[in-house]
């Protein structure tokens, strides 16, 4: 695998040459500091590219063209990382070896044409298409409670800190949806092109010169951009008294979500020690939470903790019976306390290190994970895989205990399942 970066002034090109995959993957990442009332707009914009373009007027036309190019995958997505929001464009296409000569070039042109030649007339997006996308978005927003697990996490985030980007609903907001029209969406599109930082990743069995030429020909921006704010959110002290929020829903199960604040954590701790802490605490089926709460006490089927490095948070989630709420919270608290007291073994640490190393190996088997890894080192200067492999071995028990002590429960959210009548 060979990694080449090229600074094209208005954007950065990353080429990862490898013969490992039968496909070529391209990702174009646009990012800018997140603005709450632009989230819905950004989602709508992302979806518009999948519905039509100047040259392919309907989703059907777009799909037929994509299928003709041996089923190229073209997708878009939006998400938040700390203070930033991403808008990603993905292309996945079989290597010409499995299709025909110049299929990749044609697919690349199709892809960039979708992004830079959208369905716009007189500075306005096509209204008919926009109405379709807005309607889809509206129905998605109306259906968010259908997935109680994700909904409860979202409500915990809103409860822990309603002003921070933590609380922003990445699915968007109905109020903002109503305000979007053909013109202001086009303005926003231009704003993204002119202001967002852009990184382009290409991975596969490709020729460097050919990719550079393709990118220079097809991808052009007018402005130079700079990073303005840090990626990682500012630390916030945990509240002195735990916040407990309970809401009810007509469900069989209750969803418990606990938000913990992490304070005074160094880069090294964030990237290595916290990860190991989490594997031991609640990140695997061999973890303390899984074994104690699920296996020993039969309190749940799902239990998991996830560190959110960019937000200085640790989130614990479990699906429980409402009768067991106090018992479960007490038990989780007890397990967190015992981590702080160092009640885990060297073998636990070694297992966690092995998990981490397998995860590193796994990165190399998946194009998108390889891109993610380079993307992280681009934005927050994480170490490369070899360095990570070396550094993880250095982590000691006392370092994990030290990190455990920096984690404090802040908000306990319960989406209480209350089923009076059964269907």
């Amino acid at each position: 695998m060979k990694y080449i970066t090229k600074n094209l002034r208005t954007c950065k090109l990353h080429i990862i040459k490898t013969k490992k995959f039968k496909t070529i993957t391209v990702r174009i990442n646009f990012r800018s500091p997140i603005v709450k009332n632009e989230i819905t707009m950004r989602n709508i914009l992302a979806e518009m590219f999948t519905q039509s373009s100047k040259n392919y007027k309907t989703k059907r036309d777009l799909t037929i063209k994509a299928q003709d190019l041996y089923s190229v995958g073209v997708n878009t997505s939006t998400n938040r990382l700390g203070n930033y929001t991403n808008l990603n464009f993905f292309l996945n296409v079989l290597n010409d070896k499995y299709t025909e000569k110049d299929n990749f070039i044609e697919a690349f042109n199709f892809f960039t044409d979708i992004i830079f030649n959208p369905d716009v007339e007189d500075n306005k997006f096509n209204k008919e298409r926009l109405d379709i996308v807005k309607d889809l978005c509206r129905k998605t927003l109306l259906s968010i409670k259908e997935d109680p697990a994700s909904y409860s996490v979202l409500r915990m985030y809103e409860s822990i800190d309603s002003n921070s980007p933590i609380s922003y609903r990445m699915v968007g907001y109905l109020n903002d949806l109503d305000k979007i029209n053909e013109s202001n969406l086009y303005d926003y599109y231009l704003k993204v092109l002119n202001n967002d930082l852009v990184d382009i990743f290409v991975i596969g069995d490709v020729k460097e010169a050919e990719i550079i030429k393709l990118v220079k020909d097809k991808i052009k921006f007018k402005t130079l951009k700079k990073e303005r704010v840090p990626y990682i959110l500012k630390e916030v002290k945990p509240r002195t008294r735990l916040l407990k929020v309970t809401e009810s829903i007509v469900n069989n199960q209750s969803n418990l979500v606990i938000g913990c604040r992490i304070n005074n954590i160094s880069e090294y701790e964030r990237n290595y020690v916290l990860t190991l802490f989490n594997v031991i605490f609640g990140g695997s089926p061999d973890s303390k939470l899984f074994k104690e709460v699920r296996e020993k006490n039969s309190l749940c089927y799902t239990i998991r903790s996830v560190p959110n490095k960019f937000d200085n948070l640790l989130v614990i989630r479990a699906g429980i019976d409402k009768e067991n709420y106090n018992k479960t919270v007490t038990l989780i608290d007890k397990i967190l306390t015992s981590m702080k007291k160092g009640k885990f073994t060297d073998s636990d640490i070694n297992i966690a290190k092995e998990y981490y190393k397998t995860a590193l190996d796994d990165i190399l088997e998946d194009e998108n994970r390889i891109i993610d890894d380079y993307f992280m080192s681009e934005i927050i200067s994480t170490d490369n895989i070899d360095e990570k492999r070396k550094n993880i071995n250095k982590v000691t028990k006392s370092e994990i205990v030290k990190v455990a002590k920096k984690i404090k429960m802040d908000t306990i959210y319960l989406l209480e399942g209350d089923i009076n009548e059964k269907n």
């Binding site: 039968k22 037929i64 129905k139 409670k145 069989n252 981490y356």
Partner: protein, 425 residues
Amino acid sequence: MKKTSLKGLDLDIFTEKLDNGLEVIFIPYTDKKNYFITYATRYGSTVTKFKPVGSKRMVSVPTGIAHFLEHKMFEQEDGVDPFTFFSMSGTGANASTSFDSTQYICYGTKNFKENFDFLIKYVNSPYFTAENVEKEKGIIIEELKMYLDIPDYRLENKLKESVYKTHPRRIDIGGTISDVESITKEDLYKCYDSFYVPNNMFIIVAGNFDKDEAISIVKDNLKDKKKVKLPEIKEVKEQISVNKKMDSFEADINVSKLAFGLKIPTTSLSIKNDLELDLYLSMFISIVFGISSEFREKLRNKKLINNFYTELEKIKDFRVFNIMASTENIDELIKDIKYELKNIKTDKDTFERIKKVWIANEVRITDNVDATVGNIYDDMIKYNKVITNRVELIRKMDFKKLNKLLTEIDFNNYSIVKLNVKDAK
């Protein structure tokens, strides 16, 4: 081992059937660091009445028992938790139960030998006690409740109740809560001893491993396991017509949902080969209801749907074509689906284009060891063998054959389930 090349995919596959009936399938990769293993039995949730080994009487076991058994296999007499064992080398492990099968998987990049050996050993050493069976009930009931709270899942179950009159697919894979509460260790052993036998099982491994070393691990562990006469499973005669044409229920949701199931008896169709039939029926679904169809474009333009999902189910002597969709106007959507089925249009261009898409996807799958195992697993369950020439079969598909098939199907044999919004304003 027998070597076969997967045509058009740059991949070799090695197979062997041991004397005791166990089938072993290996797909070694030279350029990958990871591996994926599944050890499976052709025993799933639909087996609830059978004659256990050594018994002359048909017995009924509680629903959900195959899934319960899957959970309990992780219990070991020597106390070594399989999750912990695999974790020691950072290896992931899991298990899953379907209507027709149960599988135990592990995937990682290290300690292949030890992990493979352990996987085979632990699936062959059940340890059920009254106490550990009791303890599992709370966990499984929470799992069932989790699914009950997902409206799409309930809708799917309701659809199966409408399509099938007697087939055990009517019952949720996890079983009912009261049945799960009644399960005993004796029930578990009865099922284990009957269905976890070499001639009912298979192993698939793909990725970075040495096939010679792997086959000797299999043989060292299982050569003494004898072939066992498989229990007679109570055969259910499923009626040709759907059980219930129309059903509906309500839930606390904001956008209503529709489930549609077309029941296709297959014995009278001209295509007799199961795989071929599935290819042609999938082709029909792609052309008429797929993402590039005129039907979908019409629905999009009318803003009629936000989710639309199709699936082809296979049971003995039947196929069921399912549609699940979210819509604010169920009746209009039903009208559109009915219209489409009365006026089926196919065209050669689309037919050829979909073939191209399928072949491209076959190539894509081989880039990924877990997808490769998953693909072969499905073949083993559905067709009882590995399909090594799928690309060729797709290429050879004949447009006229599709159209002939479509004239043989009764498109009025369907069930509809509406999931309505409670307290619609």
